[in-house]
């Protein structure tokens, strides 16, 4: 079986010298693709470098909404140059986060809009973080798709079934992470059941959002298998078919992502 971790943060600051082992464990588990996500210019550049060196990896370049207050014009310029260089498969992680107020709302909206327009100009998918901000996120995406084509990926989706349906109507792909495996997340599994299989992605968000049965430990791409198993079970689909479909979806979205 082949799995695709559509969202992970594998920069050396988080994994250090263990990174080769982390990648080896992922490949041994059947993870043939990983999108390494940037949250600032520095880790976006590192992600692009890692993707160039490792088969099956591709990078995304962006500034996380919680970091936008610290990002100056030079840092945004580095993201634009990296995206234009053809070394990344997506723009992001961008979006809106009304939970942690480390960056003012207007600043987050400004950067989200910049990322949207950059993705549209370059024809790249857009990786979106949205926390307690789904309404505002969808409103900005409605405005964006009215201007031109866009392939949005709502990573680590935690919205309702109605919000999922609205996002799918907008052309979004929805990424589900480790929290769907938690006993307490029955409502999220119910939402995942409503998502058409051809719009569904799986992810780890490593090193965060560790799924059961590894809660409390650092997450890594090999664990995406457990999220896939839980989702396949919740949806009543065979795991091999679910894995194949979500891997094909990820390859379709992140067109430049290589295969191992």
């Amino acid at each position: 079986m082949q799995f695709f971790d559509s969202h992970c943060h594998l920069d050396p600051m988080r994994y250090g010298a263990e990174l080769p082992d982390v990648l080896a464990r992922a490949r041994a588990a059947g993870v043939v693709g990983m999108i390494v996500i940037g949250t600032r210019a520095t880790d976006s550049e590192a992600a692009a470098g890692l993707a160039a060196a490792e088969p099956g990896l591709a990078a995304a370049a962006g500034i996380h909404p919680n970091d936008t207050a610290e990002a100056g014009p030079d840092e945004w310029g580095r993201i634009v140059r990296l995206a234009e260089s053809g070394r990344v498969a997506a723009v992001g992680e961008t979006g809106l986060d009304w939970y942690r107020t480390t960056a003012p709302a207007d600043t987050q909206r400004d950067f989200f809009d910049r990322h949207i327009r950059l993705a549209q100009r370059l024809g790249l998918p857009l990786v979106i973080h949205t926390r307690e901000s789904i309404r505002d996120t969808l409103d900005m995406l409605h405005a964006a798709v009215s201007r031109g084509p866009l392939v949005p990926v709502l990573h680590s989706f935690t919205g309702t079934a109605a919000e999922a349906a609205e996002a799918i109507d907008l052309g979004c792909f929805l990424g589900f992470a480790g929290m769907v495996t938690f006993r307490s997340a029955a409502s999220l599994r119910e939402v995942a059941r409503t998502v058409p299989l051809d719009r569904l992605l799986i992810e780890t968000d490593s090193p965060f959002l560790t799924p059961e049965p590894f809660r409390g430990r650092r997450n890594e791409p090999a664990h995406v298998v457990h999220t896939a198993r839980c989702l396949a079970l919740a949806r009543g689909e065979p795991l091999d078919a679910f894995a194949a479909a979500t891997t094909a979806n990820a390859r379709r979205v992140f067109r430049q992502a290589a295969t191992a």
């Binding site: 939970y99 935690t158 480790g178 929290m179 938690f182 307490s184 997340a185 029955a186 409502s187 999220l188």
Partner: protein
Amino acid sequence: MASLSVPASLSGGTDPLVRLVETLESSPAMYLADSGLASYPGAAELRVALGTLVAEQRDVLARAANVIADRELPLPQAAFPIAFTAWHDVDLRHLVPRVIESLKRQAAEFTTLAGAGGDAAAGDLAGRAREIADRHAEQLAGLLMRLRAGLAGRPA
């Protein structure tokens, strides 16, 4: 948790015991505990305080479940709001204010339930639940203040 649904005769929050159970079982603190308190980043003191709160609330839930069972009624099952699933890997320092807000709402609701009359067992449990909510809201607020002031670990 069990997957029993709430029968129509008990739904809508009209039965005080059902309302008590539903309020506690769908609370932010219960969600944090249910999804693994140890996995949330943040100060150990907050984790311990939340663990104590949930243990006391679970004791009330167990007593309520016994009363409901004695009455041969099905145990109500409340669902967590889906919004809670967005909290994972958020530092407890940012989540505890939500817990405190919810404890204050619980205290107001349990005061109403305790004063409703007509069901002595429900009134007794609601009174106990209100005391827990009031006490822990105050303790958590104090702990958060001490952590913010860099005084964690010192006597309150």
